[in-house]
Amino acid sequence: MIQIQNVHKSFGDLEVLKGIDLDVEKGEVVSVIGGSGSGKSTLLYCINAIENIQQGRIIVDEIDVHAKETNRDRLRQKLGMVFQQWNSFPHLTVLENAALAPRIVLKLSKKEAIEVAKKELNHVGLGDKFDEYPTRMSGGQQQRLAIARALAMKPDYMLFDEVTSALDPELVGEVLDTLRMLRDDGMTMICVTHEIAFAREVSDKVAFFHQGIIEEIGPPEQVIVSPQKEATQKFLSKVLH
């Protein structure tokens, strides 16, 4: 499980996270919603050790993420991450994109790596694109490639950072479908998202971020359908209307 305990994070003088506590159980889907600048994406970067923290602890399966002795490359293998921008590797084919990390990080043989990559690409519906170059594909397809690329590392957790925000509206559906599929597979996921309806549908827990703290947290029926806090109500009425 992922345990986030009293995490503080600043960029210079600007404190972005002001004491975050959050537990994510194995198999759980947690959605993080909130306005831009509320710190929700930063939290994902801290979990993945891309960003350091100033105070508190993040524990992933009993490993303290920010402890000095932690091997961060090893840790990141447990945590798949998909970004707002899909960041495909433009010089590699779709298959090579997905097979590279398993081969050089997990040290699989070339054959095994390709097998794993093909399996995950088929899973996200890119089975007919192995030899295509990502720059020739739509944003939705590239985002699904990014998901398959992360899944090929056999992560225990998946972190999604506004994965549909940069997509044309007609392409959002295919990516959300992929996330639904992952949930049905039992993947543990943290989704930072602007898709409120989606968050309500798939999440076990929804956390509303506001000015660097979790203002409200609970099952979607509570946080999204009948929010208690004024800030939550305000935010939802803004994004839902």
Partner: protein, 221 residues
Amino acid sequence: MEYEFHWNIVFQKMPQLLNGAFVTLHVSVLSMLIGIAIAVLLAIAKMSDYKLFSLPATLWVEIARNTPALFQIYMAYFGLGAFGIHLSPYVAVLSALVFVNAGYLTETFRGGFMSIPRTQYSASRSLGMNSVQVYRYIILPQMFRRIYHPMTNQFVWSILMSSLGILVGMDELSGETQRLQSLSFRTLEFFMVAAVMYFLITKLVLFSASLVSQKLFKGDL
């Protein structure tokens, strides 16, 4: 007045001309190889936060880009004499070409590096790659594609500019042509053949470069 062309003498001297062409290629290739090595160091130095490194690199780049190649060759051949350094024509031309190539390529490398989005790095790290792996598999291959074409152009430039060897009595294609024509006074014929040879050399270089790039680079950026 009609000019009567005599080609026989030129064809008799073909072996010497080809030899000159070989020296031209030789000095250009060498100037590129050394230039690339220096440019890598200069590019790193120029991106450094320490003025101690970045300032000399900037100085090198700007002098190389803002003074004529002929000036640099004179500097190497005549100017260094003031310090008791007397370079052979070959070494003088080579050092001038290296100096310019390194200057231009530094900017090429720096631009290529900076054109790779920072997010490629974080995306790769999130897949568990260490930073050596990120450079080896993600950053450098993409950078190489972007600098390949400018590097080819720089190579062609070196070939053309090595012709300034004629002015310091070097034995590359132009210098050799100059020497041979002065023995027979068939100036036009000799230089026309030299012009054709330069044309063919540059076309050959560009053609092979594009063949190689088709082989190497499949995806587009």
